[in-house]
Amino acid sequence: MREIAAMALKDLRILLRDRSGFFFTLVWPLLIAVFFGVMFGGNRASEQASAIDIAVVDEDKTAGSQEFIEALDSGNEFSISVLDREQAFDAVKRRDAVAYVVLKPGFGEASRRVFWGEPPQVELGIDPARGAAAAMVEGILMKYASERMGQAISDQNAQRENIRSAREILAEDEDVTPEVRANLGRLFADLDRFMAEEAAYTDSADTIQSGMSGLEPIRVERTDVAGAVYRGPRSAYAITFPQGVIWGLIGTAAGFAVSIVVERTRGTLFRLQTAPISRTSVLGGKALACFISIILMSIFLYVLAFFIFGLRPVSFPLLALAVVSSAVGFVGVMMLLAVSGKTEQAVGGIGWAVLIVMSMLGGGMIPLFFMPSWMRTIGTFSPVKWSVLAMEGAVWRGFSFVEMLKPCGILVGVGVICFALGVRVFDWTTRAD
């Protein structure tokens, strides 16, 4: 083990002193991540989203509730999906929607009343961790409810009808004391007279609206949707940093593949093979160095992303799992590439060509969700795709541990198979020299 560690330390030292290797392992991936992140809007990407996704459940199913939904939909604050209660809950749980809004039975009737009775009631379902978003949604709902109340009040004929209806209910209500009945009777009479006079003026709505500020346009009851999982990138960096790490993987794998050939062509491999250590130790040291380089490169990029670019992965443990699996996968790919030729030029050329194609098909250049489906299908054969998926799963897709098992398992499998094949070919070719 000490020999493997010495081999790895030596390779890491050489990597740090090799300017081009250092550039392609650390600097280039960072440039990719930052450049494309800035180009696609950086952290403003989510802020610029034109509308907040909300699910609306219409349990009232009246013209009033329908009008309210149409009003919400016509504005640019919300993107509305009308669902049933269960679907709406799931949508918030999966974070396909920021919140759900249930228009409760009686919503339409209550919207028409202004001066008596319970206000229109809605249920707002949202993740309790998203307090700011809840306040924003509630405020927007209040705005639309207030507008509707204002419209109702500004319709004098409708309000006079309302007052007449209220006076009839008052007259029939035996529980009301004579004093209250007399007071309310005077109020309704005065209001009726006031409405009749105001109808003569065309610009009276503002005056009346301003007098309604103490009324409750809507009553919001919050419901917690705990454990919601966000399934969309919060910023462009959530996409570009995993891609940057992919470029780092590619650069590191290509660099180490060439370094094995360099050991071979410059004679150091001969010296190592004639030392009292096994071939496994020689290649194991190389693999360990490549693995450590990938891990360090990934940590470097994600730490920068966290502290400077505000990237907040959904799950750090799952991100660690994704990085480790990707490292295992690409160490294997590196080993297989290392035996693809006998000269530095051959391995460098073949290595980069293979890795670039893998990257193109696997979402290392263009995000997977931008790709046509046929390309995504072909990309299944590229370890880059599984690496991107694993990292995005941990960074913004909100994969569960079980969902992570598929991409991570494939990466580890690819790594083990490629490494075993590479070692086999390496063994065969070096013995035949």
Binding site: R2, E3, A6, M7, K10, R13, I14, R17, D18, R266, G267, T268, F270, R271, L272, Q273, T274, A275, P276, I277, S278, R431, A432, D433
Partner: protein, 282 residues
């Protein structure tokens, strides 16, 4: 002690080494001489366990085959290619290869210091190898072979591409190692090096060991006769003889000799006589 018995190795239809047997004694400097393609490198690779012979055996100091790691640890190798890391310093190279050879802690530090001193690069130990001269790199290549204090050394063309001063320095180091009692196998194209350094020489061509003996014995057996070349008033005369002194005395007596030269037989002549070709024609 290094014993190679009936070694044979083929690559496809090419027979690189054919029924080669030799025994190198402890403390001996043995020269393996031959042109490119003679089979020297294949022989060395089998001797260190890197290549498995199709036939025959290799035995190191009575411990068995060098395919076993602890047996390989008895050998130090300075390959013809500079098998050192140019982006590491001289000291880092020695520490790394020392660790790979199983050295640890203070013993490793002491050996590194000794090796740096031995090849005269202690002052430059902290500089990257890429800044060293060709001669310094060659000496470091030798130092790496010695880092674990092996009793057997395989030196493959250790003076290729170095200036005369560094070459002399390497010769001096080899002389010191000989006095220390190390067994040295020395492959080279340069016959004068073999003549100067080696106790015995084996001459290889096309995978076969053509002759093996002490240098003088080989020359005596296969080098042919000395040639006396004299310039006289009436022209130049060339006389092959086993007694050049006698010939020179006779020429002097006959008078008119203005100049003379004696070409003694050497290993080049041995190779020419054995193969019909010059060693460096290849």
């Amino acid at each position: 002690m290094l014993i190679l018995k009936n070694l044979r190795k083929t690559f496809g239809e090419i027979c690189a080494v054919d029924d080669l047997s030799l025994e190198i004694k402890r403390g001996e400097v043995f020269g393996l001489l031959g042109p490119n393609g003679a089979g020297k490198t294949t022989t060395v690779n089998m001797a260190v366990g890197l290549l498995k012979p199709d036939q025959g055996t290799v035995e190191i100091e009575g411990l068995g085959s060098p395919t076993r790691p602890h047996v390989r640890a008895r050998i130090g190798i300075a390959p013809q290619a500079l098998a050192i890391y140019e982006d590491l310093t001289g000291e880092e190279n020695l520490k790394f290869f020392g660790t790979i050879q199983g050295l640890r802690g203070r013993h490793l530090s002491e050996r590194v210091k000794w090796a740096l001193d031995f090849v005269d690069i202690f002052e430059r130990r902290g500089d990257r190898v890429k800044t060293y001269s060709g001669g310094m790199k060659r000496r470091l290549n030798l130092a790496v072979a010695l880092i674990h204090d092996p009793p057997i050394l395989l030196l493959d063309e250790p003076t290729v591409g170095v200036d005369p001063q560094s070459r002399n320095s390497i010769f001096e180091k080899i002389e010191v190692m000989r006095r220390e009692g190390r067994t040295i196998v020395y492959t080279t194209h340069y016959m004068e090096e073999a003549q100067r350094l080696c106790d015995r020489v084996g001459i290889m061509d096309r995978g076969r060991l053509l002759a093996m003996d002490r240098v003088r014995s080989l020359i005596a057996a296969h080098g042919g006769r000395s040639t006396v070349i004299a310039s006289k008033d009436d022209g130049e005369v060339k006389i092959e003889t086993d007694d050049p002194l006698g010939v020179l005395l006779n020429l002097r007596k006959s008078g008119g000799m203005t100049d003379f030269r004696v070409d003694s037989p050497n290993l080049e002549g041995v190779f020419l006589n054995l193969t019909g070709r010059h060693l460096r024609d290849e």
